[in-house]
Amino acid sequence: MKGTLNWIWKGGGILLLAYVILWGFSTPLQPGLVSCSPSQLGLDEETITLTAVGQPFARDGEVPEDFNLVLRSGKQLLRTEVTAVSPHTLEARVNVPPTLPTRGLDAFLLTPTAGTLFLGNACFVEDAAKGDIPAAMALSKPDDPTPALGFSFPFQPNIMESIRNLLWHVPMWFAMFFIMGLGFVASLAQLRTDSAGWDHRAEAAVHTGLIFGLLGLATGSLWARWTWGAWWVSDPQLNGALVTVLLYSGYLILRAAMGDDDRVGRLAAVYNVFAFVMLVILLMVLPRYTESLHPGKDGNPGFNSYDLDNSLRAVFYPAVIGWGALCYWMYTLRLRMNRLAYRLLTQ
């Protein structure tokens, strides 16, 4: 019975990860505007082209009747005429007025299927004088269309398709917290009882947690390169993660350096307790008190309603459970190896 249950949670974890891979990679991204060409407009009739990524917002050759492109300057709206639409681009004619409240124009593309797409500071009119948009060119606020997109991941500027990395990077860190937490409890118990069994648990937890920590660093660094533009930025959350991984590496170095010394268990347990306290401070406390590039905002490194929507949650939560199960499976294997080695050495 126990063996069957064991295989159920192990197989379940792998099945959940397979589900995460299938849904995570095959779910389309909602369309989002990424660029406007030209970015500088003159005071005349201009033709602009907006480019989008993600799910197509129109079919090739579709008559652009229901499409409405509105440019916003300050709090006023400027009328445009959509002339052509393709799956990922839209062409529109715009009469640029001589006066505008601001030189930067935001673009709002109202589509019948994808809802409203937004591009901030889509283009600039350097020669425009400051003033109101002439009444003939101005537009009152149009009704927001209701999007009719199927199951799809949200579009976020800069992140775009790489949002799928959320299903790998974040659950790996969660799995590391979970297993390091187990190691912390095992070290406390080891200090109380001085039992080799708890020492084996702590060592297995740190060993497994470190693998997930390194994977979390690698996936985060890769993500940072294509969203923030650098492999590593001096950010409290990132530096904290690196210091934590180095601290836990120190735990394994300490054990290796002490060899068969009888005191290794107790010393390693003391070190592990401090390492876990540092993990909590560096990854959960400090980033909340400092400005951070890491999601979400205002120094809060956690995820909130702006970062996750229901479609992402449907894959993200199974990913957390799946990676957690895989991590725990690896931990149990390491623990059993430790026990076997100990038994063979003490026989």
């Binding site: 192990k10 990860l17 299938l22 095959s26 389309p28 199927g150 895989l326 059993r336």
Partner: protein, 62 residues
């Protein structure tokens, strides 16, 4: 593309057609699934080997 569309695509087209769909993005899914299968098989084999070793050690215990 949701799961129903994927299954329909596999059934209507052949497997090659499926992997060329969506700009060959399904190839990435296939590779990731293969890596996961490899990882699962190696963990499973290690688990079984450990169980055998544990049984052996237990049976040798005086």
């Amino acid at each position: 593309m949701n799961m129903d569309t994927i299954m329909t695509s596999i059934l209507l087209n052949n497997l090659e057609g499926f992997f060329f769909g969506s700009g060959k993005a399904h190839v990435v899914t296939g590779v990731a699934l293969m890596i996961l299968c490899g990882l699962a098989i190696s963990l499973w084999r290690m688990d079984r080997k450990l169980s055998r070793l544990e049984d052996e050690v237990r049976s040798q215990k005086p």
